[in-house]
Amino acid sequence: MVINKLSRRKFLSNFVGNLAFFFLANTFLLKRLNAKTRPKIVIVGLGIGGATCLQYLNKISNLVDIIVVEKLNEYQTGALSNLVIGNILKREKICFKINKNKYEKVKFIYENVSAIDVKNKSVRFSKDLKMNYDFLILSPGISYKNDILEGYSVTDQKNVPHCWDGESNIIQFKKRLTDLENNSKIIISSPDYPYRCPPAPYERASLIANYLKKLNKKAKILILDSKNSFTKQENYFREWEINYSDVIEWIPRRKGGKVTFYDQKKNLVKNSDGQIFRGEFIHIIPEQKAANIFYDSGLLNEGKDWCQINPISFEVDNFKDIYAVGDSIDAWAMPKSAFSANSQAKVLAINLINKILEKEYVDPVFLNTCYSFSKEDRAFSISAWYRLNVKKDKIISLGSIESNVNANNSDRKLEAEHAFGWYETMVNDLFI
């Protein structure tokens, strides 16, 4: 009986103690979260940047409410999309629906966001609906400059689709390519920096050449470039020499590569000197800028095409609690690539968690590796680490290094396998 009494007393004592601890812990946690309710994080855009943020923030989904807003049910990656154009992969292989089972506490809304009401901290949808946020993450991709090239409209359906985002009609692009007759001339207009995936115009030219070769169609591919040089240039030149000799020709800006006029009906373009180039397949890759939502919400600094951010937190300059990541931001030395977006989003999410838990920010470290294919079994890459400068106000490169120009066949093949491996790991991690 004595033991029982002691046990009961001990039990009551423990119970009261636990209750007090539970109460204090909750009070402490609420204080730490610095909010009357659970903080609400809204992520706009479920591409690589948005999905990476989601993956990391999901780790604290018991402490915060996470809402994802995406206009499309299915995401088509930019990465490896040139392999679809080149008939190496089926489109289905680069299209994903998020596996919601991985994110049980996350709410997904498939709507278009028209603008952000910064003053009232809310996201406005197209149907006059709005949603409040405590923290907003924008990862909406890019938009296009529609006034650079006379005669060209990004929205004109009769043009060859630019296929520079997941909404572009890649199947139509491929059909028009496949339907080309023997000895056709293809013109690719490559944009000026900065733009999404810098080596992609040249990869696309390579894989188009590869595809037409397999169809036993002779073709000439003329790249008219708004730049005087491009990333991995020497590797591309070497690959073209080996695989597509006399098929691909590159004209830099200084030699008249900048296209200034396009006539869809006459199938021609003109350069700044008035020189005319005619082709059966004219593929304009438009000049690019931050996604429209940044313009429509007044989030860009005067005269800027890209969103200015703090390189530690990724908070948009002058806009508290709004964060941006991916191709719409000016990330200084970092190129606009899927790998970059993935790496940046990890820092954003980790430091947002630190902010919510009132911990110190981590000094960022970023990595980028960008693979390019010249054939299905030949690829090469460029890699770089990035960190902050001494003032901690910009991202600097520690020096990028690319594959050996004279790499042998097995090295090229190995890099192709690595490219597929990186992609598979990333999409498995984020979407499947």
Binding site: P364, T369, G399, I401, F420, W422, T425
Partner: protein, 95 residues
């Protein structure tokens, strides 16, 4: 690799990453982009979890000191030996 890039990287490799555990965590998070840390990963790039800690350190040092210009060679050049050991601690535990 051109000489300027190489010396540039050598210079920074001494001071690249602070000893903060959080920074090492971020380096490891970037490794996950290709390697993942789960056993179930692509056959084309092995998971780091399939290695023993010592093996990881040995392989990373080999990548760092090789001159084969593979992706891993380029990426690991900026890491110090101490970075590699700390990464191993982070991934496999401080045993």
């Amino acid at each position: 690799m051109n000489k300027i890039s190489f010396y540039f990287i050598l210079f920074f490799s001494i001071s690249l990453f602070a000893d903060e555990d959080q920074t090492i965590n971020l380096i490891v998070e970037n490794c996950k982009s290709c390697h993942n840390l789960s056993i179930e990963t692509t056959k084309k790039i092995p998971s780091i979890n399939n290695l023993e800690k010592d093996e990881f350190v040995r392989i990373m040092k080999k990548y760092k000191n090789d001159r084969d210009n593979s992706v891993m060679n380029r990426i690991s050049k900026v890491l110090t030996n101490r970075d590699i050991l700390k990464m191993a601690d982070k991934i496999y535990g401080n045993k």
